[in-house]
Symmetry: none
Subunit: 253 residues, 2 copies
DNA sequence: TTATTTTTGATTGCTTTTGGTTATTTTTGA
DNA sequence: TCAAAAATAACCAAAAGCAATCAAAAATAA
């Protein structure tokens, strides 16, 4: 049996039992204690379990290893934007959440809210919020885009059009005073437009690198949006162009 | 056999088994271990599998691991029923798949099909099939039932009603010649009914423990179903009662 | 057809992994 | 605090797996 295989089995067994001794693990997997010790040492190094004398314990809130994304400068910005946007969600709200990494970042900060309802087409958001009892989820139906891990297509748009939400949190690929909102694909933009037209207030989450940039598909003008949630690295000219069009700029201080 | 051919077979075999040794792969595909190693090296370079000492593992979709089905009772019977049902799915089919552990068991055996489209309300099925390139998924939208990890409600029924499939694979909580089909909740039964009325042929997957039993919500009679896929522990009286009502009984031999 | 390139599978030397042994460290109980 | 017991980490040798090399076979091109 290979190491990744054993790792999986060890973590599984630990998750079920809570804690296990080296000997127990060695008998359970039919592996020598020496190898179990080496494995436990390595896995503990990854932060996925807690090594104890004589065995190991599970960690209650393991780091979501699946999300070890490139922690670039943009990640920090996105995190801030997500946090800032989540502050505009109040108990009892019904909100649309678009797919996209910046909107996804809101999830962490939504978990403390009470009695909110999330309507989304994003599988990562669904996965992140499924275990939160105070959040009800309405999943948008339609064709699955496996790559983007989201639902899209005509059926999805139709689904959105049959709901109304207090607020919509959406993303775009480009925004500028000249060309308005732009996206990489028509599919994405159709969903974003649907969210916008069925929500009371529309929040656009967008880090400063996308402001002033245009993507290829032009799908709406700035009046679609009420609030622009972004980071603080926005120069005066950019601000002016956007506020002039009626946008309210919200940024973390 | 050419490389792209082998690549496909290796990835397919890995997807079904989870992990395989070089020797196992070499025997399975009748290719020398040397070639298998070269292939694994290349495919791992593309990021499509995880190379381990002695073999390879499939890459898990970290986002959806929370949706995975937990192990329950009657596993062996359900596995057989799932396999048997999957044999009735042909390349190019469009199928409805209900939530429920028995229908879920079909997934393993669907992975070898080509160009099929699955319309489902089950998150475990979604998680299991999302990485299979030859399967297109249409997810049913609506309210999320966190406990059952499935979508239900009026919106979901409406979604189903806008599609037609060649075959529907459904589950129930009870079936008898006297009371027909019964379910624990109205929500579940509404989905099952919707699948049945929009499919050309309806397959009911049901282990023998549920046959002759009734649950509390009566939602349809036996004429809704064309095939009953079950295990072989069915006595003559049971068989007669059901075939008398027009059901075709299919069982693994 | 013949020449060239590519692919395949066997051989071989090298690396990694594994499980046992032993010295060292940690824990436990007096 | 000390000593006995338990667990660990370090070391080592055997086994398993791997990559590099090379020749034969197959596919492709001239």
């Amino acid at each position: 049996m290979s190491f990744p295989d054993r790792r999986k089995k060890i973590l599984n067994a630990l998750h079920q039992a809570g804690s296990l001794s080296v000997i127990e693990l060695s008998e359970k997997l039919a592996i020598s204690p020496a190898t179990i010790r080496r494995d436990l040492h390595d896995i503990a190094g990854e932060g996925l379990l807690l090594r104890t004398h004589g065995g190991a314990m599970k960690i209650e809130n393991p780091i979501l290893t699946g999300f070890i994304e490139k922690i670039g400068a943009n990640e920090v910005k996105k995190e801030q934007i997500g946090k800032c946007a989540a502050e505009h969600v109040h108990d009892g709200d019904i909100i649309f959440m678009d797919c996209g990494s910046t909107v996804f970042k809101m999830c962490t900060y939504l978990k403390t809210k009470n009695n909110i309802r999330v309507i989304t087409n994003s599988l990562p958001i669904l996965a992140e919020l499924i275990d939160v009892p105070a959040i009800q989820i309405n999943l948008i139906g339609g064709e699955l885009d496996k790559h983007r891990k989201a639902i899209h297509g005509a059926k999805a748009v139709q689904h959105i059009d049959s709901y109304h939400a207090h607020k919509a949190f959406v993303g775009v690929d480009g925004i500028s005073a000249e060309n308005g909102l732009t996206a990489h694909t028509e599919n994405e933009s159709a969903i974003t437009s649907a969210f916008a037209r069925n929500a009371g207030e529309v929040f656009l989450l967008c880090d400063s690198s996308k402001i002033g940039k245009d993507s290829y598909f032009k799908f709406g003008d700035l009046s679609m949006i009420k609030y622009l949630v972004t980071d603080k690295e926005l120069n005066a000219a950019q601000k002016e162009g956007l506020t002039g069009a009626g946008l309210i700029i919200v940024a973390d201080e």
